[in-house]
């Protein structure tokens, strides 16, 4: 069996959100830790797409930032191509590692420098990593990259504000591809875009994956987009992975009650006038997560055990994992 390109092993990230030192002393306020990611494990095979879905505050963007090294893990390890990534980012080979892992951000209005031309933006990683040093060759390479995302030489000297949202997101993709990475972390790459433009960007991303054998971590809150893009899907709730399964299995037979709820919550296009099954309750405060299974206050199948005991991660023969007492006891 070949080694997965990316492995996350029990990764966790805690943020210190304590009040300032003086307030802690004078008002006797305690230290506060927010656990944004709590023991998440997954593998991503080469050339495959793992999607992470969940609602705001579930920790999916934090996972993305942990994988590219924007945050250090509080616990657990990230292995990239068998090597410890955390150590790699601090070693002398950090530059080489960064070249292989790139990221596309959600908001193309915020992730491009408004004072730089497209040539500067897409060319920077090339010169920063000393991949291309000669000026003419650099320009040629930038044009080549722009063409791969459907832009062209005429766009070289234009500034980000002269482009629409979809075109800007394509510029970010070209920038991410400049270093010929193997692994792309895409954090909600199309949620700021209109549907017709979203289709253009998703198609380009799929084409590039097929042509270059890219591996994606695709973060989204949109189940339909996830279904279109992914090979495997992980569902997160309050910092934990509650279900991880091959796409087909997850959409055909969702097992965790939260996954079912997310799927039921999607408006059905073809059956007009049909109301969705509304879910009760809201996502709890991550500073004070519920005991046991964190989903139990909203879960229709919860019992006393769910409130008391955190469900263990259980993997079946097909490699699909779920953390739910009801599923494991056969109640669901």
């Amino acid at each position: 069996m070949t080694q997965p390109l990316v492995q996350a092993i029990q990764i966790a990230k805690r943020f210190d959100v304590s009040p300032p030192w003086l307030n802690r002393v004078l008002e006797r306020k305690p230290r506060l830790l927010l656990t944004a990611v709590d023991g998440v494990s997954f593998d991503i095979e080469r050339g495959q797409t793992l999607a992470l879905v969940g609602e705001s505050g579930c920790g999916k963007s934090t996972v993305a930032r942990l994988l590219v090294g924007l945050y250090g893990t509080s616990q657990g390890r990230v292995l990239f191509d068998g090597q410890d990534a955390q150590a790699g980012f601090q070693s002398a080979q950090a530059q080489a590692l960064r070249r292989r892992i790139q990221m596309i951000f959600q908001d193309p209005y915020a992730s491009l420098n408004p004072r730089w031309t497209v040539q500067d933006i897409v060319g920077e990683p090339l010169s920063e990593h000393r991949l291309v040093t000669e000026r003419d060759a650099l320009q040629q390479r930038v044009v080549q990259l722009l063409k791969s995302v459907g832009l062209g030489a005429q766009d070289l000297l234009r500034y980000p504000h002269q482009f629409s949202g979809g075109q800007r997101q394509r510029i970010s993709i070209a920038r991410a591809l400049a270093t010929e990475p193997e692994f792309l972390v895409c954090d909600e790459p199309t949620s700021a875009l209109d549907v017709s433009v979203q289709a253009q960007v998703l198609n380009i991303m799929k084409d590039l994956q097929a042509a270059r054998g890219l591996t994606y971590l695709f973060i989204s809150h949109n189940m339909a987009v996830v279904r279109h893009m992914s090979d495997r899907v992980g569902v997160m709730y309050l910092g934990r992975l509650v279900e991880l399964a091959p796409k087909k299995a997850l959409f055909a037979r969702p097992r965790h009650p939260y996954t079912r709820m997310l799927l039921d919550a999607i408006p059905k296009m073809r059956q007009t006038g049909q109301a969705r099954v509304p879910v009760q309750g809201e996502v709890p405060n991550p500073l004070n997560p519920p005991t046991g299974c964190s989903f139990h206050p909203r879960c229709p199948h919860a019992n006393a055990r769910c409130a008391a005991e955190r469900p263990a991660w259980q993997v079946d023969d097909e490699g699909a994992g779920v953390a739910c007492h009801a599923v494991q006891e056969g109640r669901l």
Binding site: P267, K268, M269
Partner: protein, 322 residues
């Protein structure tokens, strides 16, 4: 008899580079109690249509032509002073971000009581009782206590419930809801849409629901208007527009949405982007992106013909070529 009639509405923004026409001859009706969806991509003019109806156009934007009639009364030419009693009393508004539509310095109760007493002859205590009843109706638990809380003490979904209570406070006949669920998570979205639909039915209010989400339109609306480049491209019963779209833009839009129930290798894509206001194409505004465009499309603008169950402003449909 229509509740709201919008006739050939034109909104313009004078700028240094000439006058930009953001809305161009927009016409539609809303019947009492009806839910009309207005859908389109960013820049299509859907929010602007809502703002023009409520009289909340930001200067220098102005209504350059056309008429808006509410219950047989013309409201597009009223002064701000004449509009004040109308807003809230006749037309309620719900905006995308519940945090910016609530005043952070007043409790939810103070804001509700103020709105109720502005429009209805009520004492302070009966207005407060009504406010609590409204909050209960919108599904806020322990409404009698929560009424004295400030907006920041509510979660996003709960805040949007408060905004809905505010919009309904004076029993308006029309509610303009501009992307009411876009800022919310999907699980909360279903709760809010269900609530909005139920409350408007109970209170007999018609709704103009502005959104970019076809799924929300499909489950909520009676009729839908699809907007493109400041014009209505297609309007009709929601079932017909979604299942048999007549305008190529609507068809493209529907095909571009990833479907949760089926799998396709590639998504259909409409090439190009919505034109900028200073470069609206001649004839049909969609013709440069339209796969079926022919000569006439670039020369003459197709009209949305009045009357009938549903229409599309498209020469293919008008000439019966489809």
């Amino acid at each position: 008899m229509s509740l709201l009639q919008v006739r050939n509405l034109v909104v313009e923004f004078p700028s240094r580079h000439g006058v930009l026409r953001a809305l161009d001859q927009v016409s539609f009706d809303i019947a009492p109690g009806e839910i009309l969806g207005v859908v389109g991509e960013s820049g299509a003019g859907k929010s602007l249509t809502g703002a023009a109806i409520i009289g909340l156009l930001e200067p220098p934007g102005r209504i350059a032509a056309g008429e808006v009639w509410l219950q047989g009364e013309r409201i597009d030419n009223l002064s701000q002073q004449q509009l004040r009693p109308l807003r809230g009393r006749k037309i309620g508004a719900i905006f995308q971000d519940p945090l910016t539509s609530l005043n952070p310095l007043y409790t939810v109760g103070q804001q509700l009581v103020e709105t109720i007493r502005t429009h209805l002859p009520m004492s302070n205590s009966s207005a407060r009782a009504r406010a609590i009843a409204l909050l209960e109706e919108t599904g806020i638990p322990a409404a009698a206590q929560r009424i004295d809380h400030y907006p920041h003490q509510f979660s996003g979904g709960m805040r949007q419930r408060v905004v809905i209570a505010l919009a309904l406070a004076a029993e308006p006949v029309l509610i303009v809801a501009d992307e009411p669920t876009t800022a919310l998570d999907v699980s909360i979205q279903a709760q809010i849409i269900g609530l909005l639909k139920r409350l408007c039915r109970d209170h007999g209010a018609a709704v103009m629901l502005i959104t970019h989400d076809m799924g929300v339109i499909a489950e909520t609306c009676d009729r839908v208007a699809v907007m493109y480049a400041g014009r209505v491209a297609e309007i009709g019963p929601v079932h017909r527009v979604i299942n048999q779209p007549a305008h190529p833009y609507t068809r493209g839009l529907m095909a571009a949405i990833p479907d949760i129930d089926s799998e396709r290798e590639r998504l259909y894509q409409i090439d190009g982007a919505m034109p900028r206001l200073n470069a609206i194409p001649s004839g049909c505004a969609f013709h440069p992106r339209c796969p079926q465009a022919f000569e006439r499309c670039g020369l003459e603008r197709p009209e949305l013909t009045a009357g009938g169950a549903g229409q599309a402003a498209c020469w293919l449909a008008l000439e019966g070529r489809m």
